[in-house]
């Protein structure tokens, strides 16, 4: 019984901490989607570039990986703005298919530029204030400080974005653009600039998520696709365009990914022979995809969505 509780507690804390970061990854996507109804397939590649930005600040300048956070945010912001003016502006004129393929082309482009410059090998940070440290929370439950810091800073970033969107004039202008772009234009809101700002803010949040993720997840050019899919699932769960929805859905997705570990806990409780330990680990992302599928079919608004 003790072993069961311990395993469950481990799975749940790991899931919740990862979930906060997933939520932050999804937040960028949901801001962009909420303002302009466009799905960005290159979202995971933005994350990958954020991770590389953090990595380069750590290795080239010899700074602690924590300093990578603002750098990644700035790089992400610039990238988002550049993508908007260079590509997305043109895609918006075409049909939905063009948006899908345009951002898909962007994804291939960014991935292969990274491959050309950085090479295919996975890289990670090995030193830093937080890397490798952990503290013990109760008997047997060890929490890595990197993950705790990532979770905490994600919460802070969420709070900041929520404040920007709900309490500032810019946030109100963004929401107005999201609700009705034409009416917003009549009210004197520069919707074109709001769109580019949405891309910038989306890029900045996902860049920060990348810098946080870097502390415990190696970066390579192909890392993006998995996170793109996770972000889609998270956004669908939370409701397209909803900030608090993204936070809660991120936690749910973090728990979903840890279903295999929970299964292991149950199989230990009942007896490992009948229920195979480790059976489900290969399917850990399938649970996320299945959740996306089910939520889209049965409740397309998501859990907290206001826009469909």
């Amino acid at each position: 019984m003790d072993a069961f509780l311990l395993q469950m507690a481990k799975a749940i804390t790991a899931g919740l901490l990862m979930g906060l970061v997933f939520g932050l990854v999804a937040l960028g996507l949901t801001i962009i989607f909420g303002v302009m109804d466009i799905v960005n397939f290159a979202h995971g590649e933005f994350l990958m570039i954020g991770m590389y930005a953090g990595l380069l600040t750590a290795t080239v300048f010899g700074l602690d990986p924590l300093f990578g956070l603002p750098v990644a945010a700035v790089v992400g912001f610039a990238l988002g703005i550049a993508c908007y003016y260079g590509l997305v502006r043109f895609l918006l004129r075409g049909p939905m298919v063009a948006q899908l393929f345009g951002t898909f082309g962007l994804m291939l482009f960014l991935r292969n530029v990274a491959l050309l410059i950085m090479g295919a090998d996975p890289q990670s940070v090995h030193s830093g204030l937080l890397v490798g440290k952990s503290f013990v929370l109760g008997p047997g439950i060890v929490i890595e400080v990197t993950k705790l810091a990532a979770g905490g800073l994600s919460l802070l970033a969420f709070g900041f974005m929520w404040w920007v969107m709900k309490r500032t004039k810019i946030g109100k202008a963004l929401t107005a653009t999201a609700l009705d772009a034409q009416a917003a234009r009549y009210m004197g809101i520069p919707t074109e600039r709001m769109n580019s700002l949405a891309w910038g803010l989306g890029g900045a949040t996902v860049g920060m998520a990348g810098a946080l993720l870097l502390n415990f997840w190696p970066v390579e050019p192909n890392v993006g696709l998995l996170f793109t899919m996770i972000a889609f699932a998270t956004v669908a769960l939370g409701g397209f365009g909803s900030i608090s929805g993204a936070a809660v859905a991120g936690l749910i997705v973090g728990l979903l990914i840890n279903i295999p570990s929970m299964w292991d806990a149950f199989s230990m409780l009942i007896g490992g022979d009948r229920l195979q330990v480790g059976l489900l680990h290969q399917f850990k992302y399938s649970f996320v995809y299945a959740a996306y599928f089910l939520i889209m079919v049965f409740r397309p608004r998501g859990l907290f969505g206001w826009k469909h």
Partner: protein, 334 residues
């Protein structure tokens, strides 16, 4: 009989189209007799395979306007059915081909029913999700080889027409060429048929289509099944042609997107579009890969060029190359 007559009825195309089509058909027939490298032969076979994939995608994605990014799961079902039946029970290709197609179509009905409740982006992402789930299942299913995949053993006698095993590539070439022409004729019927008309109506305005009494949900599911049958058939062929299949090869997201992309680039919703798209993208991808892949330090450059073209097409002419052709024609006739 009427359907057969319709299938061979190309009379609504302008004469220049038909002249070009006949010239291309003649070229495809005599290509193996012309001097060529084995790389060119492999590229041509791939071009034909992707044309048929694209024709299949075109039914639901082009005429129906539903962007499907999960076609690779059906390639996988077709390829694995053929490989498993050949390895386990020694059944020839021509037996496993219809079985694989039926299995794929059956699966497409099961997931198509909930899938088509979604629209637009939501539909596209959901097709990716289903495809990736099936890939996970295939990767952990030891009966069909798991992540390492399957290897079809070579037969003692070659050429073997029942099992589709040949030493020379031109046999494969003519088999897939036959698929290509059957697909083209079928699609020519499809675009003029009742279901084809219904799909185009749904693409233009779904609410209008429903108000006219079209069961749009069922029409989409049927078109999706047709697309699936095309893709699964080529998947079966792929298993015999490559001998070696693994989930990463036949079921990856890249393949799904490539299929859709070729049809898109050529011009979705036109008969010639997928063929034009495949004729441009397949050789470009292969030859760029061969040129830059050989040079050290330039990995990825071929895909950078490739993705730049995709972005340019999506940004400036979303109707694809066929869209450019029709635009030029319109400006001439004005």
């Amino acid at each position: 009989m009427e359907a057969l007559r319709q299938a061979f009825d190309f009379s609504d195309f302008p004469r220049t189209d038909l002249c070009v089509a006949v010239a291309v058909a003649v070229f495809l027939f005599v290509f193996p007799a012309l001097p060529h490298s084995s790389f060119a032969m492999a590229t041509m076979i791939q071009f034909l395979m992707f044309s048929v994939y694209g024709m299949g995608w075109n039914t639901i994605g082009g005429y129906g306007g539903q962007v499907d990014l999960g076609k690779a799961q059906y390639v996988g079902i077709g390829a694995y059915t053929t490989a498993v039946m050949q390895i386990r029970w020694d059944l020839p290709f021509w037996v496993s081909l219809p079985i694989g197609m039926s299995l794929a179509v059956g699966w497409s009905f099961i997931i198509g029913y909930p899938l088509f409740r979604l629209r637009g982006h939501y539909f596209a992402i959901a097709t990716i999700a289903t495809s990736l789930i099936l890939k996970d299942v295939f990767e952990s299913w030891s009966f069909i080889g798991g992540a390492r995949g399957l290897k079809i053993p070579l037969r003692a006698e070659m050429p073997d027409f029942w099992f589709l095993q040949f030493r020379e590539d031109y046999y494969y070439y003519y088999v897939i060429l036959a698929f290509f022409f059957v697909g083209l004729i079928y699609l020519n019927w499809f675009r003029q048929s009742r279901i084809g008309m219904q799909l185009r109506c749904i693409k233009d305005n779904e609410e209008m289509a429903r108000s006219l009494g079209i069961d749009s949900h069922w029409a989409k599911i049927k078109a999706y099944a047709v697309a699936t049958a095309f893709v699964a058939a080529v998947g079966s062929f792929h298993a015999c042609y490559n001998f070696n299949i693994e989930p990463e090869d036949v079921m990856s997201l890249d393949l799904s997107v490539l299929i859709a992309l070729m049809a898109m680039l050529g011009g979705a919703g036109s008969l010639w579009g997928p063929i034009i798209g495949a004729a441009i993208l397949v050789p470009m991808k292969n030859y760029l890969g061969a040129w830059f892949g050989a040079k050290a330090g330039l990995i990825g450059l071929d895909l950078i060029i490739y993705s730049t073209i995709i972005m340019a097409i999506a940004a400036f002419e979303p109707r694809g190359i066929w869209g450019i052709v029709t635009r030029i024609r319109q400006s001439r006739s004005d």
